[in-house]
Symmetry: C4
Subunit: 341 residues, 4 copies
Amino acid sequence: MTPYAVLEERARAVLPQAVFDYYAGGAGDHETLSANTRAWSAVRLRPHILRDVSRVDTATTVLGTRVAAPVLVAPTAFHRLAHPTGELATAEGTAAAGSLLVLSTRASTRIESVAAVAGPWWFQVYVLRDRALTRELVQRASAAGARALVLTGDTPYVGRKRRDRSSLAIPDEDFRVNLERLTDVSLAEQAPDVTFDDIGWLKEHSGLPVLVKGVLRADDAVRCVEAGAAGVVVSNHGGRQLDGAVASAEALPEVVQALAGRGEVLVDGGVRSGQDVMRALALGARAVLVGRPILWGLATEGATGVQRVLAELQEDTAHVMALAGASSVAEVTADLLAAPR
Amino acid sequence: MTPYAVLEERARAVLPQAVFDYYAGGAGDHETLSANTRAWSAVRLRPHILRDVSRVDTATTVLGTRVAAPVLVAPTAFHRLAHPTGELATAEGTAAAGSLLVLSTRASTRIESVAAVAGPWWFQVYVLRDRALTRELVQRASAAGARALVLTGDTPYVGRKRRDRSSLAIPDEDFRVNLERLTDVSLAEQAPDVTFDDIGWLKEHSGLPVLVKGVLRADDAVRCVEAGAAGVVVSNHGGRQLDGAVASAEALPEVVQALAGRGEVLVDGGVRSGQDVMRALALGARAVLVGRPILWGLATEGATGVQRVLAELQEDTAHVMALAGASSVAEVTADLLAAPR
Amino acid sequence: MTPYAVLEERARAVLPQAVFDYYAGGAGDHETLSANTRAWSAVRLRPHILRDVSRVDTATTVLGTRVAAPVLVAPTAFHRLAHPTGELATAEGTAAAGSLLVLSTRASTRIESVAAVAGPWWFQVYVLRDRALTRELVQRASAAGARALVLTGDTPYVGRKRRDRSSLAIPDEDFRVNLERLTDVSLAEQAPDVTFDDIGWLKEHSGLPVLVKGVLRADDAVRCVEAGAAGVVVSNHGGRQLDGAVASAEALPEVVQALAGRGEVLVDGGVRSGQDVMRALALGARAVLVGRPILWGLATEGATGVQRVLAELQEDTAHVMALAGASSVAEVTADLLAAPR
Amino acid sequence: MTPYAVLEERARAVLPQAVFDYYAGGAGDHETLSANTRAWSAVRLRPHILRDVSRVDTATTVLGTRVAAPVLVAPTAFHRLAHPTGELATAEGTAAAGSLLVLSTRASTRIESVAAVAGPWWFQVYVLRDRALTRELVQRASAAGARALVLTGDTPYVGRKRRDRSSLAIPDEDFRVNLERLTDVSLAEQAPDVTFDDIGWLKEHSGLPVLVKGVLRADDAVRCVEAGAAGVVVSNHGGRQLDGAVASAEALPEVVQALAGRGEVLVDGGVRSGQDVMRALALGARAVLVGRPILWGLATEGATGVQRVLAELQEDTAHVMALAGASSVAEVTADLLAAPR
């Protein structure tokens, strides 16, 4: 079993079935969920030998923020379902690992409380049907110290997950923790009419750079940066939105090529090892985000588990970089990639 | 399990084994039967994000008839084997869902009775060895209100199905319900000498537009419209005729390209989800036809089951269109397709 | 289960394990054995519709001899292991089916006895280490009425089959039935120094046309006809010689193209259905040879079983030709083939 | 089961689990370990027929040394774990088979003792953190009669193997047998700063030609020979270093093409049959090295087992060369290869 599979099994053992299914599941027939991991494996590597790799440095920056490794914490919902200390533990573990947290709109802990214990962090935005409430949220995030917003663009409606059939009930207090003003719960749903124009609207009201998450095509990536985005996250929402969508590893190259440096390109979806991190960088990503592994670390060991997952990924990334002859992330380029078979 | 698989299992539970096998089976080694579904899955999607999808309209027209969604009811035989109310239930459920029924020559209910409860419907034609009988059937269909004929072109002989080994006996009353005049049963078999010339013959005697079903190649599609057809249905008869034939999703693009708008192109075979509907439209089909899912709905819940299958497919189509950034069927184009891998 | 699989299981039930393994097995890891059948399945068909197929004629000629279908009986060894009546039964069943028998050098029945009951037949030649003995054999075959020789070119040594481990002992009387003069048994082994020059030598001593069996490449095919061969059999010896060799369906097109009509091209290996026969013809073969199916028919029902296998293949070929819109073998062309995926 | 699989099972039965796992395992998820064998199988062969193959000669030379077959013994560690007589048995068996031994830096027997019983042999070098110790080792090897050095270039750090989890403890006496002077055990680890410059350093101190093992790309191969290497071994260390690296059969062609004869190209990884040997030669390798099969032979039968493995591979290579129409290794060329599918 891979280290990831071991961790996942441990999380499955400690979590209520409905919670595990909620996190682990994907949309539809899981075509895209399984394609994500397969697509990374299909990227074959051509390592260099006889390089001096006595020192390997995985550090990099994302939107100017230094991180210990090109591995960030993806926004995921309701961490108190996974562990009583919820996002506080995630923030502490992330900070201890020298990584960066992307805090979800669907966090089950108050933004300001998380900010108090976090290292560098960004705020993930769902534009809600109640836009005033949305504006308030991003202003609170900005005031609390978020360094950027991550606008999720692929969720006009929530994708249908089969494994949710067990019908997980999100506790009302978790759902409302950042939405005290909310009267009509339907107004807290994602707005289905979010467009590229909202990028500017979010920048204006938050004073923060905006990344757009959920991009799977070159043209949309270009529209994002032309609308003012600082970059994009190539993502299919971990296989949880449109089942049948291309794997993120498959979409990454065309986005990198289209932006040609006009914005930073991150990627998420199925990254489970140092090899996958190296593959993403070789395909042109600046960094990856990991979601489910963090939740499994959180579920099994709280803040320590989150830190451990990130530390092990960083260490594994350093190890495989050394085996490929790369001493720094700048040396991880497309030169390491074999032609697809 | 997919919703389709759940439905199929429920139908298997309520149907006699021989009836289930008759409907579920395919020709030969099931190469084409299984290729049909695999081929849709292989069509990977590149969704657009940040589009206003607050309203998604799945409505379209087929040969000028408005339908609630680009999902029609494929012609299938002997519905009274699946449910005591047979084609009457199918017609009612189809009408309630705002869809269109293609009534089979092998219906087990009188054409006129079905017409009395149906919404818009077409009549599927097997040219029988007794051509006078065939003419009479299409004239009855025309008189009863059929809006078009669908000539099945791929069945000069019935393909061999292994699972039929249980040797389903079609009740004589079901077989003869529309063939009172029939004396020699062999004359009710499909004629093996049907050619493109019969398209004009059918138009002439029925006064109706004719679609040809069973087309798998560009040249045949062109000959159909040159012989007067209003369009074609790309189909391998659900994998029930020539085993080893290409999947319908594989044949669709060359037919669309060859006709270049000179006729409408529908498709059937293995369509099981909203994604598959969207894939067919993106590949150039105007609409899809579904066969087995309708039979499973009919078997399990009669008219309500038929309506439910169609309503769920429509709703699923709307959902995935929204996730792909398309508000109307006109916006579902080849732009959404990834290059084949 | 396919009809072939059913037949194979019945043969497995009646044959001693060592005999079944001897016939069913292949060389090495069975890579080529399994590739043979997979390669036919990979040839996808594009059927024509709306053709008059009221009459379908499978008849053709091979080297001028008329056969009821383009399906001949491949040379296989020691039929008395499969059935007490051995090659006599095979010859009778083949004649009854209107097919042509290729009698093996390793027949377990006297050539003259087989000839007495056979329809048209050819004689398969292994050039033996004792060339005088070889010459004698082909002269006896010629005198007995063989219409051609089939020189097996791919067996300088016998390929190693794992399933032979049960070490089938060929009865000495079966081995020697056509080799009365033999003193040193090693001289009855295949000669490892057979070359293209032996084609002329065989023609000269037999007065018969010579086909070369075992060709898998264009250049060798050309050398065969330049050395006087009347044609070739594209074959990897049913996966029994070089494991890892290309499937015969994969090698067929380059041979057809290279010969460009300068000789007849037959093919064997993994042909199990009418579809496979049609695929072979569409790829340019004049006819196919079947080996193991004949042995299973022989084992289970003697001459009747052989006839039944051939009749069913002929009938299945006619059926799928009709479903593809072809009324004669001349109409089965590359036009029916989809591009490889 | 293949002969290799049978042998492996016998070795599994006699070895302690931890030792078997240590030898059999690979890095990470075993992606590269399994890709190695799959990649050889994917190389399909186009045999020639009707060649005189009464005599087939598998002999060749490597760096001027004649070997009975193009199959050498790869360097592997600590043979005393596999058999009490350790490298002495390996050396004797290799010599008896007419092959060449590559003795590992991690041998568990004194270099001089092995040399006393070996036929031709090379010495595999890990440049250790203690370079003086390294120099001493290669000078001892040279003095003892090694004909070349094989510098392993792909192991700046040891790859992580999951199956090692059982944590095999290498006996200290085995680890130190050639390192009497060693005080700080960490200095016996592989140096992570080995570069192309060390090729010249090794040549200078040993007076021997140097091959570089672990090359998977054309550019690195060129740098090796430009730095003075006599050739390279295309290798991913049997899937034990960078998991996700290309299979050695996939990397081989680009290295052969890039060197264009400027150095000898050997290959290892997943070679398990005569076919694989022939495939490697057809792809341009001068010879292959085998590792695990030798260990299984050693474990099961000591020197006799090693000899048997090599003799059977030689014999199998001769057999398949005959079936492909090649009488000598010079006749095994790319002409025998089918285009990849």
